[in-house]
Symmetry: C2
């Protein structure tokens, strides 16, 4: 396969990944909206969209393997193929979490409304932002954007803790809210997991660009961000 043909195939693959990411982002958004607007039909749509997204995942993986099978691979090719396979899997698992949220919404929509949904819509916005920008960073090999994605993960963790504490108070005061509150807590955990998967994709960007495995090194990232801030960047 010529270099030009390879680049073109790779470009197609990236387009497919962006398309899948767009579909997954939409699922996150719709899942949370099916909760806040108590829209069961929308929750069902998220659940039934799964098969399309699963199909996209399978096609991307097969396409990636086909492209590289036609080529004598060099180290950077192998890093790229590993990263594509992992990012693809992470995207599909993000969609699984959107489905989990839609399923919790179906349960909650049968019960009386607890109250406005605390910081869950805000968590959903952050999570969706992370997915979108992780994928943009991935296809554009943008390490700075990937770092920005990874740093926002802390925000999601803080929101999750805050939601947990608030709902705990609710339940203690009025045990009739327990069932509903637990489902909201589980939704916040699903959103947190979406952020984790987006961070995984962001870590793969650094790996592809710099040839360095950066996962398990959140601490390092935090330090380098602090250094950048304190040196006035």
């Amino acid at each position: 396969m010529s270099e030009r043909h390879f680049d073109q195939k790779l470009g197609d693959l990236k387009q497919r990944m962006l398309k899948m990411a767009g579909a997954v982002e939409q699922s996150i958004q719709e899942a949370v909206r099916s909760l806040t607007t108590r829209d069961n039909a929308l929750a069902q749509k998220v659940i039934s969209d799964e098969k399309d997204i699963d199909q996209m995942e399978i096609e991307i993986e097969e396409e990636a393997l086909t492209i590289f099978a036609l080529r004598q691979p060099v180290a950077s090719d192998l890093r790229l193929i590993a990263a594509v396979i992992k990012a693809n899997t992470d995207l599909e698992r993000i969609n699984d979490k959107a489905i989990d949220i839609a399923q919790e919404a179906l349960t909650l929509n049968r019960l009386p409304l607890l109250k406005p949904f605390i910081d869950i819509p805000r968590m959903a916005d952050v999570a969706q932002w992370m997915v979108k920008n992780a994928l943009d960073a991935f296809v554009n090999r943008d390490v700075a954007l990937a770092d920005a994605v990874r740093l926002r993960d802390d925000e999601l963790d803080n929101l999750r803790d805050q939601i947990f504490r608030e709902l705990l108070t609710y339940m203690m005061v009025d045990p009739a809210t327990i069932d509903r509150a637990i489902h909201l807590i589980l939704i916040s955990r699903h959103l947190e997991r979406i952020g984790d998967h987006a961070s995984n994709i962001a870590e793969d960007v650094v790996y592809v660009v710099q040839g360095r495995i950066v996962r398990h090194r959140q601490e390092e990232l935090r330090k380098s961000a602090e250094n950048a801030l304190s040196s006035g960047h």
Copy 2:
């Protein structure tokens, strides 16, 4: 690289994966024991073992890429490398869940004992069995064992639902138990996720052996199991 040299390298890689799986299984076991015996030191051990297991993951991935970079890859090579990378990532995420459990244990151990831990130890046994056998199936290319692993995932889901219902009753009767009950519910979710990751690894076995992507096809598996049973196998 000669075929013999390649097979030997691949054998080494499998040994590394089994060793990592052994360490991960131990973490699951210790995390749950740190809860049932209220042993904070053991929970801390699980948490501090993370860096060794993360290091194993990084080495396995680098080793896998190195082996294949020295070879003109054929389709089955690429499937194998994709499967190794994915199984390796799943193993590391199983360990993350063991750490989550250890962290919940540290929280619960500070609170008065709720009661014997319902079916959580049983869930842990099933999850650990699934991890062990998923890896055995992976290195031995044993599709029948991989199918057995995937089928046990339902058992884990049923136990999770049962635990949820039992703890809900507890909380309703005595709101003072809410905080502790929620942490137990979260532990049951972590164990469920371990089962999901073990199922992913089992699916990769079918993919490597048969060249067929079987994920998202739980229903198909259930039907083939029913057919096998009804035809007297």
